[in-house]
């Protein structure tokens, strides 16, 4: 395992316990608080509709909205599966597609544009499906 003392002076180091453990513990409690607020205030999605027909299309989880919208746009099942699979493979293979040795995204305008376009596209697809 990595020894962080190599190449660093004592001033540049801090103990893992309790500093990092405390950070994680505090944020975990904040997360639990946020979950409890969600339990109290987020709307229910498990009810069936009153009239027996499936009418709760608007209760689709927000993180699945882009997939639903794309499935509405593409009628061909095989094409839809191909598009989603290719996108997933490209997403997983980002380190092998981005051959630039520069780390910061802000110094790579082409890749930054691709990332921003994709993020905006996913956001837009989700919003369109929600409005629909």
């Amino acid at each position: 395992m990595v020894d962080y003392r190599i190449g660093r002076s004592e001033d540049e180091l801090e103990p893992f316990f309790p500093n990092e453990i405390l950070r994680h513990t505090l944020l975990t409690f904040l997360l639990i608080n946020a979950i409890m607020l969600g339990v109290l205030f987020l709307p229910e999605s498990y009810y069936n509709s009153v009239d027996g027909s499936a009418s709760s299309e608007n209760s689709i989880p927000w993180f699945l909205l882009p997939f639903y919208f794309v499935s509405d746009l593409i009628d061909n099942k095989a094409l839809y599966i191909l598009v989603i699979s290719l996108y997933t493979v490209a997403f997983i293979g980002v380190p092998f597609l981005d051959r630039n040795s520069e780390r910061s995204l802000w110094k790579k305008p082409v890749f930054l544009s691709i990332v921003l376009v994709n993020l905006l596209m996913i956001l837009a697809l989700g919003i369109f499906k929600y409005i629909q």
Binding site: M1, W62, L64
Partner: protein
């Protein structure tokens, strides 16, 4: 032997028993108490760990729900109603299990965005990204299969809108004009409670091991 000596012997007894057999003291000192990390780490570096906490909350609440959930098309919705209205604190466990995926997805996505914008996926951490991106995809699939299990209106729309296209209708579910077969529903249940979580645990194990091996990335 006086009383304080006897107390010391008792308090060190269990710890000494484990340490004698497994040498845990050295492991704990090396990895926790004596470990030093770079000073000034951002709080945003904790998002991956929080996503793990959210996953563990899901596993914990899911295990409680397994005792009462009936994986049958006809009884699933009724069993969810039973959990919410009849089981002590069932409403709380079920609601936590329903709400936590929203936070888990947000945390995994935010963690991914931080890695992307800081270029932390560069050499030698390419496989960190591959395993992390795979975990994001598996998390989305897990949330999708979970939304199908209550067998309510949302599940109906899910299976019709997306399930058709990914072939669940033809292969796994025996779908026939809007009706999902029991065998298919059991397949979704097995995927949600066993296959995908186990796969995620294995990939997470690799992800954490790789992070430990390569260490925290240098700031930009």
């Amino acid at each position: 032997m006086n009383k304080s000596g006897k107390d010391n012997k008792l308090s060190h007894g269990a710890k000494g028993w484990f340490d004698e057999r497994y040498q845990l003291k050295e492991i704990i000192e090396e990895n926790v108490t004596n470990k030093l990390i770079p000073r000034g780490l951002s709080w945003f570096r904790c998002m991956g760990g929080l996503a793990l906490v959210a996953f563990m909350i899901q596993v914990g609440t899911g295990i409680f729900l397994i005792f009462y959930f009936v994986p049958s098309l006809g009884e699933a919705f009724n069993s969810v109603k039973y959990i919410r209205h009849a089981v002590p604190s069932g409403w709380l466990i079920q609601k936590i299990h329903a709400v936590t995926p929203h936070f888990m997805i947000t945390l995994v996505f935010a963690h991914m965005l931080r890695i992307l914008f800081k270029g932390i996926y560069k050499k030698p951490r390419e496989l960190h990204w591959v395993s992390g991106a795979s975990l994001l995809v598996l998390t989305l699939i897990l949330c999708y299969t979970g939304s199908l299990l209550p067998a309510n209106d949302l599940s109906y729309w899910s299976i019709n809108a997306v399930g058709n296209e990914v072939g669940m209708s033809a292969m796994a579910t025996g779908y026939d004009e809007g009706v999902v077969s029991s065998r298919g529903f059991n397949a979704i249940y097995a995927l949600h409670i066993a296959c995908i979580p186990l796969l995620m645990c294995v990939i997470m194990g690799f992800h954490f091991l790789m992070v430990r091996r390569t260490g925290i990335s240098e700031p930009l």
